[in-house]
Amino acid sequence: MQLSTNKKSKFIERGLWAGITVLLLAVPWMITERYYAYVIALSGIWTILVLSLNILVGYTGQVSLCHGSFFGIGAYTSTLLVLKAGWSYWLALPVAALLAGAIGCLIGIPALRSKGSYFAICTLGFGMIVTIILDNWISLTGGSNGISSIPPPDPIVLPSLGEITFQSQESQYYLILVTIYFLLFFTRRVMDSRTGRAFLAVRRDEALAESIGVDPMRYKLLAFTMGAFFAGVAGSFYSWLVGVITPAVSSLYVSFEALIFLVVGGVGTLVGPILGTFLLTVAPEYLQVIPEYRMVIYGVLLFLTIVFMPHGVMGGIRSLAARWRKKFGGG
């Protein structure tokens, strides 16, 4: 009985994933208006950022307020390497992500020694420093004017198969989609391993984790570095999708928005970050929300989520599903 229920729910889960995948692959055919296609692609980039933040906040329990810095570092590094050093984008992207990860690791070493809100304040300070540097290192970053006309990624040449170009909106969308799927795959594999169990152990009870041989500092630092790395990827994608970057891409707003999307979607769940981001980026566009009201709506939504769905939208769906299962038995 137990086993068959398990199998059944696994089957349903697989089916759901397949359905969603088909739907996501078909998006460019369903949404043909350029502006909305752009909004969807942008929301995909936010999703990458929020998924990367989830590794740290969701699984290791460390609330960071400088995730936007790694987004900004990724955006600026890849852009400068392409525009000023003339690198291929496909070399600039990993270097930008690695630099974001490396800086994350260096900042994490002192910052992760503090706990809870003190850690949040440390990261807040670091986040402000990054924005100030980008704003004032004018010879490199162009200051508050930022950098414009950032080209899309170079074509990937496949021997005897032709090449994949990234000029069109559809190809950019698919690149972002593949990256999201990779990040989900990455998170799932890591969380279903000794490393992932150590992340959760650190989040739940540090002293208990230590008593069974988990080094909390090591795993917090690993999560922080991984998060920074993928935030760097998101930032780099952002730079060519929008075409313009200013120091604002590294600002506290970015960090806070990512955190809000995560909390609304469901901290520490695989799909929650995607739902939260979609709900808070795409929906307002479709509902024609006046941009000035956006922060007000975020505030209200955040409040409602924390009060009524402490585990986010994903947690809400789960408890509904559990109630439904109880009511109708079995299934």
């Binding site: 391993s193 490393t195 009870d205 041989g213």
Partner: protein, 257 residues
């Protein structure tokens, strides 16, 4: 002479100038069950915290298998084979019993996230080993039927067993149990007692903090008595229960024994 598995020399811990543990010496041989007793505030849990690396001693030395481990981090001490439980029965409440036990296997495995991502053969082998270990210990502790339950949803008594199971998953050579019997009814205490004996039969040395004298009398061949941070007696139950210091420490203590 038989070599001590764990040796503590001149162990001292001050908190803000106040001595919680003073000049405590003792040793534990491999294969013993030793009791650590004393009135409330005697410094028993502090001694545990010092041995397990949760506190750094102010003075003194801790030697485990001929290697000084004083000042090591607690996770390093755990990986060397000293695993402790907590007085407040700590477990990973949000996780299932199965996940708890899998997490407990952390210390004796090595694979990292890269191996997990690539699903290398060493990763798969280690995952299997930890699954086997988790199933084995849940079975041993009689918790296997509950393995898919979330740890916070099981009864208090089962949680107590889970906390011990979690420590066992870390493959200790010496298990430090902090009041495993408190708040249990006689029947439950009886079962935990036989479990501790079974753990001991698995060649795991046990150091046990306990208030329940009946338990201590039945389980421990050797008992160390602390009072106000100092060791005031050591020996078999008969020996320590004759010590005037000990009787005095337990205030009108004859009733206690």
């Amino acid at each position: 002479m038989k070599l001590a598995l764990l040796r503590v020399e001149g162990l001292t811990k001050h908190f803000h100038g106040l001595a919680a543990v003073q000049e405590v010496d003792f040793f534990i041989h491999s294969g013993e069950i030793v009791g650590l007793i004393g009135p409330n505030g005697a410094g028993k849990t502090t001694v545990f915290n010092l041995i397990a690396g949760f506190f750094k001693p102010t003075r003194g030395k801790i030697v485990f298998r001929d290697e000084e481990i004083t000042g090591l981090f607690s996770h390093e001490v755990a990986r060397k084979g000293i695993v402790r439980t907590f007085q407040d029965t700590r477990i990973f409440g949000e996780e299932t019993l199965w996940q708890n036990l899998r997490t407990g296997c952390h210390g004796w495995l090595n694979s990292g996230w890269v191996q997990a991502l690539l699903q290398t053969s060493s990763f798969v082998r280690e995952e299997r080993a930890s699954q086997k270990k988790a199933a084995d210990i849940l079975e041993f502790m009689g918790l296997l039927p509950m393995k898919e339950e979330r740890a916070k949803n099981i009864p208090q008594y089962a949680r107590r067993k889970l906390a011990i199971a979690l420590a066992l998953a870390a493959e200790p050579l010496i298990l430090l149990l902090d009041e495993p019997f408190s708040g249990l009814n006689p029947q439950e205490a009886e079962e935990i007692m036989s479990l501790i004996l079974k753990i001991w039969e698995r060649r795991i040395t046990v150091l046990l903090i306990e208030h329940n004298m009946k338990v201590v009398k039945n389980l421990c061949k050797r008992i160390i008595v602390l009072n106000f941070g100092r060791k005031i007696a050591e020996g078999s139950f008969q020996e320590i229960s004759r010590e005037p210091h000990v009787i005095e420490a337990y205030l009108g203590g004859e009733g206690v024994f």
